[in-house]
Symmetry: C2
DNA sequence: GTTTTTGCACTGACCAGTCAGTTCAAAAAT
DNA sequence: ATTTTTGAACTGACTGGTCAGTGCAAAAAC
């Protein structure tokens, strides 16, 4: 569809410009734009329906390109998906690291850093809910082609949280009895599930509300030794 | 569900006994057994591969029955899946309620109740990892046939946690400023993700380890006003 | 003798991936 | 400055295969 006339060339969408590869002076911006459109189409469809239930035809149609174009740009449906995963988690990891570094620079405590990362996580999920959804849905699946990609990418993100926890223990800010790995996983889960529930079941709430609720939990002001109210 | 070897009835699992329909004295146990086998086969396959990627032939084969039997017992593949969901979440909800009630009976605090529910959640996930996996993968998907079933069933489970939180606030045991819904979601997420990570990435850890880590977080002994170590 | 299961052939829809051909802007040739 | 060539990007009809669901007669279980 879309005879495309003299192709008014949708000039460079510039959605984000991650590590947008080479770009040799007269770089093929066209190709990059097409790939970006395909990512965007794929992420929502796969989040809604799952990988197998989403057809390449659907992705192509929503992106407004022909099916052949998908295969011109990606070796297969799975490869498209894998690159989508890498792309998305790259954004998240960068955002988390940034939040931690910023707190550090401003002389905050490690609790402040965790809190800032919680917020960064919420902002990310708010901006890319479909990606988050799809990530969670695939993370614990076994027996799948992109299993190893997913593991690597997960480790990348969780490592940031673990790092902050470890530094906190060294500084004596956290008890040295905490289990870094499990605690990091629990924190990630807390943010992930609360945020997805927020999006799905009470989208009218503000990000600040959600952040406040999670901060409270983090700081043990829900059930810890607390002070009246 | 979940094969688990030749199933020596370990600790009286009471797999069914839910609202297992009619059962007129000489109830058709045969049919029930077949359905159970199909649930068990379906749950692992779907957890591993996802709903669409799992074929009815595979389910039948793993369950050791003919394909026709699947359709004799369930109207369609989706219906089989929906009933599986109801079945599984029914078990979880019952277990959570039981944990809360037991604590109550023994005169524990509401924090104790939450703690007991965390443990009950972990035990459930430990026993039915495939179900948990599949549940998480489907929960936030939109546009799907069983979407409404899933919402009902989710609400059922989360409501138990919300109930305990509310009672805790009434009793003045928790701050009345906490957001019940968000906090409940966050707690569920904490347990869910920590447990799935435990299963997937460090299965050698004991349930007690995981429980201890989560307890600590719940009680604010990670970053709250804590006392040395 | 009724209920449940089996085995298996069949259908029709659907879908990942292919490929011969088209488009067009920029480079090269004139 | 005009024509020709090039090749990266894109197209969409087509293929080979898969799979949900059906139909049914005979066997097994109860």
């Amino acid at each position: 569809m879309i005879p495309r006339g003299p192709d008014r060339g949708a000039v460079a969408v510039r959605i984000d410009a991650m590590e947008s590869s080479s770009a040799t002076s007269s770089g093929s911006t066209r190709r990059e734009a097409t790939r970006q459109k395909l990512y965007e189409a794929a992420v929502t469809l796969i989040a809604e329906q799952g990988f197998s239930a989403t057809t390449v035809d659907e992705i192509a149609e929503r992106a407004g390109v022909a099916k052949g174009t998908v295969y011109y740009n990606f070796a297969s449906k799975s490869v498209l998906f894998e690159e989508l995963l890498r792309h998305g988690v790259g954004l998240l990891t960068a955002s988390l690291r940034d939040a931690a570094a910023r707190t550090e620079r401003e002389g905050g405590t490690k609790v402040d850093a965790l809190d800032a990362m919680i917020r960064a996580g919420l902002v990310f999920i708010d901006r890319y809910p479909a990606f988050t959804q799809l990530y969670v849905a695939e993370l614990w699946r076994t027996n799948r082609a992109w299993q190893s990609t997913l593991m690597m990418v997960r480790q990348q993100a969780v490592a940031v949280v673990e790092g902050v926890l470890r530094e906190g223990i060294e500084r004596g800010e956290f008890s040295d009895e905490i289990d870094v790995q499990l605690t990091a996983a629990a924190l990630v889960g807390m943010v992930l599930v609360a945020a997805l529930d927020w999006q799905a079941f009470q989208p009218e709430r503000s990000l600040d509300d959600v952040h406040a609720a999670l901060s409270r939990l983090l700081q043990g002001r829900v059930s810890g030794s607390h002070q009246g109210h």
